[in-house]
């Protein structure tokens, strides 16, 4: 291949990456425009805020699991881990009556610890991520039910807990923009993770592990330790999602959680992150999560039955990945 040929091909590769995000973003715009035309109730500030609020939990989970998917792994335990974190927060705040900040720390620490355990299964014990986190998913689901005795824990005695997701710091400063805190937290978490992925050693190893784990190990990098760190970080982010959902429901619902992991993975996939690892962006995941909530919300506003909403979401996932394949086929 000539030098000039090489230069051209690299430009195309770079353009392909940008194009991918552009495509996902364009799909989002088309959806929003379509629903706005179809129903006058859709493009209202209150409805847009509702969409953003509905995105926050799934979005935070999706951002966390994006890290793991880029390493070439998968985490099926994020949904029930989120619930377990909420339950532990309930134990600390409602049962033990500790201050709010301690509850917040408990949730994040619980998530990080469970993530670390999953990471240990995967990195040290060499259990395939699918199996390791499937086991973790069931263990955590069971533990949530055991700890609570299958009954929800309410946060009525903790003033300010519901503010975590429902309040609006921005609204207090700029009353015209009552962006809920849950959304603010989603954007802060996204920005932080995007920064970690793009700028730090941890981020670089995340991509490198997904690109060629053995080459990284043979470069003298302690791949096991880094992988565990990545799973722990993703777990900690699940803890944040646990706080958000508990705050929105003002309770820890122990039976909740199953199914959230698949919604989050769907958002990641729609956002263009490859399940094969090595590639992915947080912006893509955010757009993916938004596409999913816009769909759900838009179909509801148009009075489409919830059963059909699920069918459409499934079809969108297949279509999104197929579109991605077509783009890749054309690029390669």
């Amino acid at each position: 291949m000539s030098e000039r040929g090489k230069v051209m091909s690299i430009k195309e590769t770079r353009r392909g990456g940008a194009q991918q995000k552009l495509w996902a973003f364009a799909s989002l715009i088309v959806l929003v425009a379509g629903f706005s035309l179809a129903s006058p109730n859709f493009f209202q500030v209150s409805n847009i805020m509702a969409i953003l609020q509905a995105t926050s939990v799934n979005g935070v989970l999706a951002v966390g699991v994006t890290l793991i998917i880029i390493t070439g792994g998968i985490d099926l335990s994020i949904g029930t881990l989120m619930t377990f974190c909420a339950v532990m927060t309930g134990v600390v705040l409602t049962w033990a009556g500790m201050p709010l900040l301690l509850g917040v720390l408990t949730s994040i620490a619980t998530g990080a610890l469970c993530g670390l355990i999953s990471g240990t299964f995967v990195a040290k014990m060499k259990i395939p991520p699918f199996i390791a986190t499937l086991g973790m998913m069931l263990m955590l689901k069971g533990l949530s039910l055991i700890v609570t005795g299958t009954k929800p824990i309410y946060f009525n005695d903790t003033p300010g807990f519901s503010e975590i997701a429902q309040g609006s710091l921005i609204g207090r400063i700029v009353p015209a923009f009552p962006v809920p805190n849950g959304v603010l937290i989603l954007f802060i978490v996204s920005a932080a993770v995007a920064w970690i992925l793009g700028r730090t050693v941890l981020g670089r190893y995340t991509f490198a592990l997904g690109s060629n784990e053995e080459a990284v190990r043979l470069s003298g990098v302690n791949t096991d330790a880094w992988k565990m760190a990545i799973y722990a970080l993703a777990g900690g982010i699940c803890g944040i999602a646990g706080l958000l959902i508990a705050s929105r429901l003002n309770s820890a619902q122990p039976a909740l959680g199953l199914g959230y992991e698949l919604e989050a993975i769907a958002a990641v996939v729609i956002g263009g992150t490859s399940l094969a690892g090595g590639r992915g962006t947080i912006l893509g995941t955010l757009i993916g999560a938004l596409i999913m909530s816009v769909l759900t919300n838009g179909l509801r506003v148009m009075s489409v039955a919830p059963e059909w909403q699920t069918v459409v979401t499934g079809a969108i996932i297949v279509a999104a990945v197929y579109a991605d394949q077509l783009r890749r086929g054309r690029a390669g």
Binding site: R199, V201, S219, G220, G278
Partner: protein, 501 residues
């Protein structure tokens, strides 16, 4: 003479690349026609056009004098064109016969497969090839050479009259190559036309009738193999004459010992191996395939730690259980399989160079100092003359020689002063090889201690200041630099019981 295949001014473009520029090629029945050229010369693209994988943008393909269209690989197979890829494409968990008949299994009623007939038909093909093979054996248990036999049988099962072999001997040892050549000669005698792609000059002389050379996507010329000297073929390939320099052995009597290995053992693969390596020295490791050289390298590097034995670096004993222990001791390993073990192919040149040294270029938050790394990457690109548009180029888009240099840069940046090169020029074209040799000599002159493992004897002889030879997991002797290939082969085949001093 009648022609089996004629390709006339075949042209192929990819976005940004003119891969084939009006290439001509022809194949006669009952000949072995070698196709040569550096990596990227267009050999594989031409063969993919012939086997229906790519559609040429211009030119004609004639089979038996009639123009044909080859829209799919199946169309090519139906016309009797079989291809055996360098990376074998067999299903490891199926049997030999199941692999051969995959997609066209003989059926019984209710969709059942006629396994008995399948096995009998496969056995008949192997008999015709004069190869002893059990059709019911699972492929996973076969050596690479035996798997290749299965691929050949599979190609023959399509009644192929044209057989394309892409570097068939890359992973074979000498006796396996001899066996393969016997089969090739038998097929040739039966009138099959064989297109043989290889980088190994001696093989081309042994097996082929004619040689066609390509360079930069263009046809250079076709010559008779018997009366063309190797140097003439090489100069056709690179467009210039290459001189074969003799090794210059520096005086290392005063140099300090960098690495000392004592009685290293692991299972049956490594038996009581002891040697030492000085600063500034290039120690070559010769031996046949499976002699344990790669295993030794991986043991020293901690990729598969040894069971017994001692490793000393600069006189101090070190414990190496993982690659990160080895790297901390200043040992770098450049695997023979760069793509799987050396590089993160989807990442750019800068990230790959920095892969082993990242924490050093990060602050306490773990934030990477990209501007500094960019400067370092550009520095290495210039020092090692890595040909890449810039440091953000993905390494998968570089040629083999330049990929190798990226791996070298990675270890130099990590301050490794003991470097183990496992087949440093495998898959690297002739022109770039000379450059890698020069680089290795420069590194040694700069005081690095270097181990070179190579299966190509001329390479070992040309590079090594001393030559260690292994056979069946034992170090059978260490020869002085410049030793003859015959001396090396004697040690490489010195089986247990025959001790050599």
């Amino acid at each position: 003479m009648s022609e089996l295949v004629r390709m006339q001014s075949v042209d192929k473009r990819f976005p940004g690349v003119h891969a084939l520029k009006a290439v001509d090629f022809d194949l006669r029945p009952g000949e072995v026609h070698a196709l040569m050229g550096e990596n990227g010369a267009g050999k594989s693209t031409l063969m993919k056009c012939l086997s229906g994988v790519y559609q040429p943008d211009g030119g004609r393909i004639l089979i038996d004098g009639a123009e044909v269209a080859l829209p799919t690989p199946k169309a090519a197979k139906d016309l009797g064109i079989g291809i055996i890829h360098q990376e074998l494409a067999l299903m490891r968990d199926l049997t030999v016969a199941q692999n051969i008949w995959i997609g066209r299994e003989p059926r019984l009623s209710f969709g059942r497969i006629d396994e008995a007939r399948q096995n009998a038909d496969a056995a008949a093909i192997f008999q015709a090839m004069n190869v002893a093979m059990d059709p019911r054996a699972p492929v996973s248990g076969l050596t690479i050479a035996r798997q290749q036999m299965v691929e050949i049988a599979k190609a023959l099962s399509y009644r192929s009259r044209v057989l394309i072999m892409d570097e068939p001997t890359a992973a074979l040892n000498d006796s396996e190559i001899a066996e393969l050549f016997t089969i090739i000669r038998k097929l040739r005698a039966e009138g099959v036309g064989i297109i043989y792609i290889s980088h190994k000059m001696d093989e081309i002389r042994q097996i082929s009738d004619r040689v066609t050379v390509m360079r930069d996507g263009a046809y250079v010329g076709t010559v008779e193999a018997a009366d063309t000297p190797i140097s003439a073929i090489i100069s056709m390939m690179v467009g210039r004459e290459l001189s074969d320099e003799a090794v210059r052995i520096p005086d290392l009597s005063g140099a300090e010992t960098a690495l000392e290995v004592r009685a290293l053992s692991r299972g049956r693969e490594l038996k009581e191996i002891s040697f030492s390596l000085k600063k500034g020295e290039i120690l070559g490791f010769a031996g046949l395939m499976g002699a344990g050289r790669t295993e030794l390298a991986r043991a020293i590097f901690g990729a598969e730690p040894p069971e017994r034995g001692e490793i000393r670096v600069h006189g101090k004993p070190v414990t190496i259980r993982t690659p990160s222990d080895a790297v901390r001791a200043g040992i770098g390993y450049l695997s023979e399989d760069r793509k799987h073990y050396g590089l993160a192919l989807g990442m750019d040149v800068r990230a790959n160079i920095a892969l082993a040294s990242l924490p050093r270029y990060a602050d306490r938050l773990g934030r990477i100092d990209e501007p500094q790394l960019a400067g370092i990457a550009r520095d290495y690109i210039a020092r090692l003359s890595i040909r890449t548009p810039d440091d953000r180029q993905e390494v998968r888009l570089l040629s083999g020689g330049n990929q190798q240099k990226v791996v070298i840069a990675k270890w130099l940046l990590r301050d490794c002063d003991i470097l183990i090169f496992d087949e440093p020029t495998r898959g690297i074209d002739v022109g770039a090889k000379a450059e890698i040799y020069r680089l290795l000599n420069d590194l040694a002159a700069a005081g690095k201690a270097i181990i070179v493992i190579s299966s190509e004897l001329p390479e070992v002889v040309r590079l090594s200041h001393r030559i260690a030879v292994m056979c069946e997991g034992r170090l059978t002797g260490i020869l002085p630099g410049g030793a003859s290939q015959e001396q090396i082969m004697a040690l490489a085949t010195a089986r247990e019981g025959m001790t050599v001093e």
